[in-house]
Amino acid sequence: MQAVLTAPPNASHQKADHRSGKYISFRLGSEEFAIQVLQVREIVGIQEITAVPQTPHGVKGVINLRGKVIPVVDLRLRFGLEELEYSQRTCIIVVQIGGDGGRVLVGLIVDAVSEVLNLQASDIEDAPDFGPGVALPYLLGMAKIKGKVKILLDIQAALAGGELAALSSQEIAGLGF
């Protein structure tokens, strides 16, 4: 994933228009990610998670979100990073994604939530081409803000596809949301 930092600056701006807007950025390990504010329902602190057996890799269990039982996914595990002990800074970003049975809420565990970004189309570049066989459909693009690179995520794709395997050594199936 470090490769993204040396992305060739040849990205086109065709896709940029629908990608501009407000983003919430968060940290996973040493990398900064961002997802569109429109997909985010709320952010809650880390809380007691009830483990559920026989769930796909990365799904930590369920939490009580004001009476709704929603699944939570540890994005570190999802992206093949090593697991980290939860701390005061650990947050659950509750996103709304379109599932089979309509819209569903899913909690994403991240190391820390950083800030809200207002990204112009000119800030956003396409994800670099990693060569054949490496498809990363969940990468919306990259944003360069104040000299730092943020990875823009299509969270729906990140939770759905099996292509995540490209980033990690293990085969990761879709979560079935």
Binding site: T50, V52, R66, G67
Partner: protein, 617 residues
């Protein structure tokens, strides 16, 4: 309003736009709902009339129902509906003026008309909800048949010609569809027009006997009174109701969290304590009320079977009287809906298998007319429904023989009476010698039992040769809440549904044994039961590895008992069942989630799934 812009696609048919009223989805929806209510009432009254053809009250009530439907259908340009209602009304008008005697044939025709109109409502609803163009139901000469009733089958109707008379101009539904579609976005529906239609229809019922009779007969007056009271209710979308119930559940938890907050407990002043307990009382009340809003009396369901009994017994040449009791017993509307099919199955079985022919009954020294009884009542927090007949009883020997043929029991085993009768719930089991179109295919009772298990209920059968058969159904009051034992395993907590728990125990060391070094067994009251370690199944780190340091919960699933090993019992709690969502719907051994008293989620265990997985199913 259930109609939304999705239905724009319905259009595209040439618009005759004859009537703007027919095109308003809201009006149409009202019409369907109201007509359905009338049709249900009509069926009920017809069955009363069937018992007592001289019951003028019933005739009047049926007349009023058809009249109102006719009026509304007229406004909505549903000519086929209107015409049929009109013809039936004519027949009933003669009947209520004592110019025509009610015969079973007439009742049959009117029942058919009622069914016909019901089909229509379904078609209209299809149009409304999915934009499906209604297919006019096959009337099959119904109108003619009704006309011929007048004048004792005189040739009045003959001139009309043969075939389906309530001929709907084939374009009409299309128009209606187009209109409905076209006006979906129409602002301000012409509200009150349906009411107008109703009012216009009303004068005919001015001479309704209820008011006239009220003066002379206090009982009828009371009936009229209840009718008026019954009208004072509103219809609410079930989704809204479910949401309310959800939120109330949350409120109760939040309230309990506040009340038991340790910070608050330290300096609890009398005034605060008083206010808190007041809040508790109110939230309890609100919860009870919210729950009761989803309850409906089971009587509606029972009454649906009366038609079935009538049709079946007539077809089979048997005399059956349906006896209903405890119709006012209330239970969750979801359960009532799910219970409809099993109940129909059982009643069908009773009439078809249980009840003998009049001659047979006579020979056995019984009254010619058999009784099928449906009884509902509360019993220790459960609803118990009894479906019984006084027929010939279950054929014990035949079941035993069949079971041996199918190798369900060993050839030399001598099962107990209840074990034999339990065999009828086995899939594909039927002892009927000939397959009729109602029963005998052996797909009845196992489906019934499955359905009941889905509803977290159970079914038992009691039968005595020559005296009849009784099915006992035991169901929870509601599907939304269960009583559960909260148990702990490691740092996780689980809810074991109380209905599945037989007992709890700390076993002695010598009560635990192992078979083939793998499957552990526990000796409970002289029975060896399989032992399932919950921590192994769910991959949780337990606090105790040794069964005799842990707690064993003796559970039951599908008539088989097993022991569930957990660390400790935390308490008993009534929990609201929550779905874990689509992605976690099919986890073996987990029935759902529940918010526990401290706001955490606890998984509700599904004993069936746990035990099934243990057997490698």
């Amino acid at each position: 309003m259930a109609v939304d812009s999705d239905h724009k696609s319905v259009g595209g048919v040439e618009t005759l736009a004859a009537n703007p009223l027919a095109s308003d989805p809201e009006l149409m929806n009202d019409f369907i709902l109201e007509s359905r209510e009338h049709l249900t009432a009509i069926e009920l009254q017809l069955l009363t009339l069937d018992q007592d053809p001289s019951n003028s009250e019933a005739i009047h009530a049926i007349f009023r129902g058809f009249h109102t439907i006719k009026g509304m259908a007229g406004f909505l340009d549903l000519d086929a509906v209107r015409d049929l209602a009109h013809e039936v009304e004519t027949v009933l008008d003669l009947a209520r003026n004592s110019k025509l005697a009610i015969t079973p044939a007439i009742i049959d025709r009117i029942l058919e008309s009622k069914d016909y109109l019901n089909t229509w409502m379904a078609e209209l609803e299809g149009l409304l909800h999915s934009g499906k163009t209604p297919v006019p139901p096959e009337a099959g000469g119904l109108l003619e048949a009704i006309r011929s009733l007048i004048g004792g089958g005189a040739v009045i109707g003959g001139a009309v010609g043969s075939g389906a008379v309530p001929q709907l101009p084939p374009t009409l539904p299309a128009n209606v569809a187009a209109n409905v579609a076209g006006n979906l976005q129409a602002e301000a529906p012409p509200s009150g027009l349906l009411e107008l239609a109703r009012e216009l229809a009303a004068p005919a019922s001015q001479d309704s006997p209820a008011e006239v009779a009220a003066a002379e007969n206090p009982e009828t007056a009371k009936a009229a009174e209840t009718q008026r009271v019954g009208a004072r209710s509103i219809k609410v979308e079930t989704a809204k109701l479910d949401y309310l119930v959800d939120m109330v559940g949350e409120m109760v938890i939040a309230q309990s969290l506040v009340r038991h907050d340790p910070d608050l407990a330290i300096g609890l002043k009398p005034r605060l304590a008083r206010n808190l307990s007041q809040l508790t009382r109110i939230t309890d009340d609100v919860q009870r009320t919210a729950m009761s809003m989803r309850m409906i009396p089971i009587g509606q369901l029972f009454q649906k079977t009366s038609r079935l009994v009538r049709d079946l017994s007539r077809k089979a040449g048997k005399q059956v009287e349906l006896v209903l009791a405890g119709e006012e017993t209330e239970l969750d509307r979801n359960i009532v809906e799910e219970l409809a099919d099993p109940l129909m199955h059982m009643v069908r079985n009773s009439v078809d298998h249980g009840v003998e022919t009049p001659e047979e009954r006579e020979r056995a020294g019984k009254s010619q007319s058999a009784h099928v009884t449906l009884k509902a009542g509360h019993q220790a927090g459960y609803i118990v429904i009894e479906v019984s007949d006084d027929g010939r009883g279950l054929p014990r020997e035949k079941i035993l023989k069949k079971a041996r043929e199918k190798n369900l029991i060993a050839g030399d085993a001598e099962p107990s009476e209840s074990e034999i009768f339990a065999l009828i719930f086995h899939p594909g089991f039927s002892t009927a010698e000939k397959i009729t179109d109602v029963s005998g295919r052996g797909v009845g009772m196992d489906v019934v039992r499955k359905q009941l298990q889905k509803l977290r209920g159970r079914i038992d059968v009691i039968s005595k040769a020559g005296q009849g058969t009784t099915f006992l159904l035991k169901l929870p009051l509601t599907l939304a809440i269960i009583d559960g034992l909260v148990v702990g395993v490691g740092d996780q907590r689980y809810v074991v549904p109380l209905f599945a728990v037989r007992e709890m125990m700390k076993p002695a060391e010598e009560a635990i044994s192992t078979i083939h070094g793998r499957q552990e067994m526990a000796m409970v009251r002289g029975n060896l039961l399989p032992l399932i370690r919950l921590h192994q199944r769910f991959h949780v780190q337990p606090r105790h590895e040794l069964p005799w340091e842990s707690l064993l919960i003796v559970s039951e699933s599908g008539g088989k008992q097993f022991c569930l090993m957990v660390d400790e019992l935390i308490g008993k709690q009534e929990v609201v069942i929550k779905s874990l969502g689509d992605s976690m719907r099919h986890i073996a051994g987990v029935a759902g989630g529940a918010i526990l008293g401290d706001g955490r989620v606890g998984l509700i265990l599904d004993p069936e799934g746990l035990f099934g997985a243990n057997r490698g199913e």
